[in-house]
Symmetry: C2
Subunit: 156 residues, 2 copies
C-alpha cells in the first residue's frame, strides 16, 4: 500500500514535467516541439515503420496529437509513408527518412544523457523494483479509472 498521496503525485508530476522540459529544450534547437521526441524515438527503434495507431499505443498519446505530430514530421521531411498515395494514410506505416534518422540520433544522444543523469546513484536491483512498482501502479490506476468512469456513467 502507498501511504502518502502527495508523495506519489508530486514525485510523478515532478518527473513528468522535467521530462517535458528536457524534450522541449532539445527540440527547440532542431526546430521541433517537445511532443515530437517520443515519435522520433520509437520510429528510430522500429525500422520497419509504425502506423499512427502503433504510435498512439507506444507513446500513450491520443490519436489527435499523434496525427498532428506526424503531419508535422512529414512537412519537415523527417518521415515518409509506405502506402500508395491514393490510399492516403490509412494504416500506412511511417518510416524515418535519412534526414529523420539523423535527427533521431541527435535526440537519442540527449535521451541517453538524461537517462544516465536521472539514474544516478541507483543500483540495478533498486531499478528493477522501481520499474516493477511503477508498472504495477500504472496498471492499477488504469483499472481504477475505468471502474470510476463506469460508475460515473451509470450514475447519470
Amino acid at each position: 500500500m502507498i501511504h502518502r498521496f502527495e508523495q506519489l503525485t508530486t514525485g510523478v508530476s515532478q518527473i513528468y514535467k522535467n521530462i517535458q522540459r528536457i524534450k522541449k529544450l532539445e527540440m527547440r534547437s532542431l526546430g521541433l516541439k517537445g511532443t515530437h521526441v517520443m515519435c522520433l524515438y520509437f520510429l528510430h527503434s522500429h525500422a520497419e515503420g509504425l502506423t499512427a495507431a502503433d504510435l498512439c499505443a507506444l507513446c500513450k498519446e491520443n490519436k489527435a496529437g499523434i496525427s498532428r505530430i506526424l503531419a508535422d514530421l512529414e512537412t519537415h521531411g523527417y518521415i515518409q509513408y509506405t502506402h500508395p498515395q491514393e490510399k492516403k494514410r490509412y494504416r500506412s506505416k511511417a518510416v524515418l527518412t535519412e534526414d529523420g534518422k539523423k535527427q533521431a540520433k541527435t535526440v537519442n544522444r540527449l535521451i541517453l544523457r538524461a537517462v544516465l543523469e536521472g539514474g544516478r546513484d541507483i543500483t540495478a536491483k533498486e531499478r528493477d523494483i522501481f520499474y516493477r512498482v511503477l508498472n504495477l501502479i500504472s496498471d492499477n490506476l488504469e483499472n481504477f479509472c475505468e471502474e470510476l468512469e463506469r460508475s460515473a456513467v451509470s450514475a447519470d
Copy 2:
C-alpha cells in the same frame, strides 16, 4: 542506471495522466476542476493556512495556476484569507472554510481509494525503495534540467 528511456517516460506519463483523470472525474461532481484537488488536499492538512507561494512549492505548480485556483476557490466560498482586506493577498494565508473542509474531506476519501487501489500488491519494502528511487530520479532530473538550461543560455 536506468536502461530504457521509454519505460520511465511512458510509465511516469501513464501514471501522471491517470492521476489527472481521477482528479477531473471527482471534481466534476463538485463543480470544480482537476487542478483544484491538490490545493484542497494540502489546505486540509495545513490547518494554519497556506500562502500562494506555499502552495506553489507543495503542488509543484507555477504561480499563475495557483493564483487562478485560489481565486476560484474563494468565489466558491471554500477558502478565506487571514489578512486585513486592504493589504490584499500579499503573503496572506488561505484557510478552508467549513464548507471548504467538507469538500476537502470528500476529495480525501477518493484520494484514499485511489491510493489503496494504486498500491495493490506492493509490499512495504518495495514501496520504500520505489519512493526513494522516485525522489532520486526527480532530483537528478531537476539538476540535469537546470544544467541544460544554463548551457542553452550560454550558447545563445
